[in-house]
Amino acid sequence: MNPLERLSELEDNWHTEMGAWFGGERVVYRGEDLLGSLLPEMDWMALYLFGITGRRFSADELRALNAIWTNTSYPEPRLWNNRITSLAGTVRSTASLTLGVATAVSEARIYGHGANIRAIDFQLRARERVKAGESLLAVAEEEFAVRRSIYGYGRPIPVEDERNAPMLKLMAECGLDQGEHVRQALELEQLLFEKYQGRRRRLVMLNITGLDAALAADLGFTPRQFHLFMTTCFLAGMPPCYIDAFEREPGSFFPLRVDRIKYEGPVRRRWKD
């Protein structure tokens, strides 16, 4: 079909199985009645996950997935994405603009969702290769060589990720700490630690991104589904930052003196002398 035929056929003609609103009557959500059957059955998180995956998750699975969002929601106004909410609060921007754009900013390369998607991709690829007979350590070292890091491993400072222990405890309570990807993630941290005898500790420690990604892999998420699920994972940390700045004098959040600028550009000059 050529482009003209394709566009002509699609004009005012969007077929979907995802859902629709029947005004004054009902809403269909992925083939089910949102207000009639899903509302009594699902809380918001269950519905969100149903929207992303088309699947239903057990109560324990939902509890663990909820915990992923809780453990990433730090009300720390200096973190880059959160700082935007504080800056928005201090200039009295609106709540939705603030949370919307701070969420978009969390789709970053070196942290947040860029790291999430790479972390689950690594756990899935590594599992496939180990099942095919390769050693986990060899797969990881190849990753190091090609990408100079293993997403899901490494910390900005050489201390254990404070989220891992409480998250693992909760996963154990939910019966979700023994999945093949979670065990692989923990095993690799140990293998790397033994290989480097404590050296390169900053680079090889499992971080919460790696642990969350391994859990998601065990629960059958694809990388794109995990990316969508994690899009709002920092959200609960943001309103406190926004409110804190919003409720104080405008402009009071980390005001900057002129001499906070360290200029490294061309010397003073005249325009088109």
Binding site: P3, G23, P223, R224, I261, G265
Partner: protein
């Protein structure tokens, strides 16, 4: 004291307030004491991105490119998005945010442009290299699970929904290439049909813009940022206009949605 490092911007403080600037310098030029009244908008844009004043032909190229890109028209995806914000009375910042989010995409948007800049960087003006690069985009790509951006679904800078190269694209290419007769734009104009044959689809405005940014000496991230910025004026104007018209005159695609798995029977949504 922690400080922000910059090669673009310097300030001197007012005598009575260290938190207020008495003078501001952009790449060494006094903005309010020298540039204001002397510099044109496109020259200032160029200065901020490149750190140096543009040559006259570069300023003219950027000026005319900005005209060509300023309003993609209300049927275009990013403008349509902005109008959806405008008609509902969303904040004006939300209108522009909607235009940016949609206009960032891989079909004619910022990412399309970014990828097209990648071809210019890799292939320069080598027609064979271009042909191979464009053909590679049409080959079934391995789904890339590791990137936020999905793999391109078409050769960047070309229009998968086009039948032939549209008149505005051809006129823009013709006009801009005359400003830089020995540049990337002129090469693109000379080889457009061969490149379209290799891509299997017509050149798009993003493809013309990528050649223009190449002639301006911009790197892909600079070009992408500028492209996002230059396409916003139309989104702003159309969002404001639809806010004025109101919802009654804004298409809802009332008969356009067909639900294929309706548990309540064969109804059309409304």
């Amino acid at each position: 004291m922690e400080r922000f490092h910059t090669r673009i911007w310097d300030e001197e403080a007012e005598a009575d307030n260290p938190f207020a600037a008495r003078a501001c310098y952009c790449a060494g030029y006094d903005v309010y004491g020298d540039l204001l009244g002397a510099i044109r908008w496109e020259e200032y844009l160029y200065l901020m991105l490149r750190g140096e004043a543009p040559e006259e032909h570069e300023a003219r190229l950027l000026h005319d490119l900005a005209i060509a890109l300023a309003n993609p028209g209300l049927r275009e995806y990013s403008v349509h998005a902005a109008m959806n914000a405008g008609v509902g009375g969303s904040s004006h910042a939300a209108c522009l945010s909607a235009a940016l989010a949609v206009g960032a995409g891989q079909l004619g948007g910022g990412r399309d442009l970014h990828e097209a800049m990648g071809i210019w960087s890799r292939c320069a003006r080598d027609l064979n290299a271009w042909s191979e690069a464009l053909a590679a985009y049409n080959a079934a790509a391995e789904p890339d699970r590791t990137e936020l951006w999905a793999p391109m679904a078409h050769p960047p800078g070309f229009d998968p929904n086009g039948v032939s190269c549209t008149t505005p694209v051809r006129r823009t290419l013709e006009h801009l290439s005359a400003i830089v007769p020995a540049g990337a734009l002129a090469w693109l104009a000379a080889h457009r049909q061969a490149l379209e044959a290799a891509a299997g689809m017509p050149l798009s405005m993003a493809g013309v813009a990528a050649a223009a940014y190449t002639d301006l000496g911009l790197e892909a991230p600079q070009a992408e940022m500028l492209h996002l910025l230059l396409r916003l004026p139309g989104a702003a104007a159309h969002a404001l206009e639809q806010e004025g018209y109101g919802s009654g005159k804004f298409p809802f695609f009332k008969n356009g949605l067909k639900l294929d798995n309706d548990p309540g029977g064969a109804h059309e949504s409304a």
